[in-house]
């Protein structure tokens, strides 16, 4: 059975389809197969696990990055994600951040009619900190991008992620965050401005496996035209993960009648001393705010853009965002 058909039977893939990607002739042009065995990280969502397996099987390139170690001179990593040859690619990167180090990983998805299959595996040692910025620039909105992240945080580690852009033809950015060590923290933010028939799917599985950990998921969609934004956020709190604080919020602004946003929060809590919250809102621009701005002489278009910008930037509350990422959002 094709991967697209297998996925179409899975609940978590209701809003994202690979059928059209599968019907396209992609040209992989892989150099030579590298048969170094790599174990697929265990994504708990069946569909994302299939995707990860598929990437691992097809990839000709597993790059290891050891950030913060004495041997490496690399502190911060910036990658441009696009096929070197052909129009499709399969790639796995494995990033390890050494204890007590603080680094950034910046990815620019610079795609034009590409099929991107890109798996990122991240290990954060004790008290390591990684800020991960994922910017999607799909010029023609003809690409399919599958870019799952599997991240494990040891004691005291912090992982912060921002995903932003205008979506793609089909884009699924899954993140599975595993809080394995006490007092670790994972904070995932996503902000997307979707026009025409753009698609964006942020699916998150947050697994609290140790006490005193905190996590946050904060997503914003502005949807116009016939675009489609999806947010599926799962929080799993293990029995031993007491004093967990886990939050989740997805806010959407719908600018057209035909735009769609699908949000699905799921909480699975087995510990008794936890603070968890989830929420989803969607609506049009606030007419009272519009009137207030216009009554002060601000033209309708400018008032709209002020409110949209405010809506988007609200997602960055409480975290540092580099200027390049800020600019990318607006």
């Amino acid at each position: 059975m094709s991967l697209a058909r297998a996925l179409s039977k899975i609940e978590g893939w209701k809003y994202t389809s690979l059928h059209s990607a599968e019907q396209t002739q992609w040209n992989n042009n892989a150099a030579e197969q590298n048969n170094e065995p790599l174990e697929t990280p265990k994504f708990t969502n069946e569909g994302d696990h299939l995707i990860a397996q598929n990437i691992v099987q097809h990839c000709d390139d597993v790059t290891q990055y050891l950030l913060g170690s004495k041997q490496s001179t690399t502190r911060d990593l910036a990658l441009e994600i696009k096929p070197a040859k052909g129009n499709a690619f399969y790639k796995v990167i494995h990033v390890t951040v050494e204890a007590d180090h603080k680094v950034t990983l910046t990815e620019l998805f610079k795609t034009t009619q590409n099929f991107v299959n890109y798996l990122v595996i991240i290990e954060l040692k004790e008290n390591a900190q990684l800020s991960h910025y994922r910017m999607i620039d799909d010029a023609t909105q003809q690409s399919t991008i599958l870019a799952p992240v599997f991240v494990q945080a040891q004691k005291g580690a912090t992982y912060t992620q921002i995903v932003t852009g205008r979506g793609a033809k089909t884009a699924r950015f899954t993140t599975q965050g595993e809080l394995l060590g006490a007092s670790s923290h994972i904070d995932l933010r996503g902000v997307h401005k979707l026009n025409d028939d753009a698609h964006m799917d942020q699916t998150i599985v947050m697994r609290h496996m140790a006490p005193d950990c905190t996590s946050n998921q904060s997503i914003r969609y502005i949807v116009d035209g016939e675009a489609n934004g999806t947010f599926q956020g799962q929080i799993h709190v293990d029995q031993i993960a007491q004093k967990t604080a886990a939050f989740q919020l997805c806010k959407s602004l719908l600018l057209s009648d035909r735009g769609r946003v699908n949000t699905k929060p799921e909480l699975e809590i087995y510990a008794d001393d936890v603070k968890c919250s989830h929420g989803a809102t969607s609506g049009a621009l606030d007419q009272n705010m519009m009137f207030y701005l216009q009554s002060r002489g601000i033209p309708e278009e400018k008032a709209r853009s002020l409110l949209m910008e405010a809506f988007l930037k609200d997602v960055f509350d409480g975290i540092y965002v580099p200027p390049a990422v800020q600019e990318f959002v607006t």
Binding site: L293, Q294, R296, G297, L307
Partner: protein
């Protein structure tokens, strides 16, 4: 300057304004008093151009401009300003950025040169100091977390910066302590000159004592039922708005 003739306005078939006429000349300060539900805030909103009202009859002119045909921002450019009864909180929009957009949009529409960053900051700080608006507030999101008094100060600050021909203050005095009330009154009095006019909508006379309007109207059931001078406000204080008690 502002001429309202036989204005009929309804919301969802419910008649709110029923033949209201009002003529405010340049340099005059008018006050409208009236009980809750008499249509005062509807009048203010209709003049500023808020959606959701059906104008069934009548006309409103600001000098030669037909206001009812104009978008809210065009009215602002033409010289209309409404100080809101409940100023809107706008998360994510920084107050001073908003002020700059507002001032420059109006200047541009009026054919004046837009202020550059420095010129704007200077002008803003001068007015902000007058109305006791701190730098810290100007750097925060518009009206978010401001107290009732702070929001009203912000309204008056905007009024001072936009220099409207006619400013309508919709119950700007409600919920204000004496200090804040004085700031509002000072703001109006400072702008009072032969070119500017004001319409003060209020329940209470304490603001009117500080502003001393030229004309006081009593509004009831969607129209002006009585017009006079400040002594009308005294009568209302004595007998309320109930016409059965006295001839108001």
């Amino acid at each position: 300057m502002l001429k309202i003739e036989n204005l009929h306005v309804s919301i969802n078939e419910t008649k709110i304004l029923q033949g209201l006429s009002l003529n405010i000349k340049a340099g005059e300060v008018h006050a409208i008093m009236g009980p809750n539900g008499s249509g005062k805030s509807t009048l203010a909103n209709v003049l500023a151009g808020k959606d959701g009202y059906s104008i069934d009859q009548g006309s409103v002119h600001l000098e030669d401009a037909d206001l009812l045909d104009m978008a809210p921002e065009e009215r602002a450019a033409a010289g209309m300003f409404l100080a809101f009864q409940y100023p809107i909180e706008i998360p994510g929009v920084i107050t001073q950025n908003f002020l700059k957009s507002s001032v420059n949009a109006v200047r541009k529409a009026r054919g004046e040169e837009e202020l550059d960053a420095l010129g704007f900051l200077k002008a803003m700080k001068k007015e902000a100091a007058k109305f006791g608006v701190s730098d810290e507030k100007l750097k925060r999101a518009l009206n978010v977390g401001f107290s009732g008094g702070e929001k009203k100060r912000m309204e008056v600050l905007q009024m001072a910066m936009l220099k409207p021909k006619i400013a309508i203050l919709d119950e700007t005095d409600s919920g204000l302590d004496v200090d804040a009330l004085k700031v509002v009154a000072d703001g109006v009095n400072a702008q009072r000159d032969p070119e500017h006019a004001f319409l003060i909508i209020t329940h209470y006379r304490r603001l009117l004592d500080m502003i001393k309007p030229d004309v006081v109207h009593v509004m009831k059931e969607g129209k002006i039922i009585k017009t006079g001078d400040i002594t009308l406000a005294d009568q209302i204080d004595d007998v309320g708005f109930n016409p059965q008690k006295e001839a108001i």
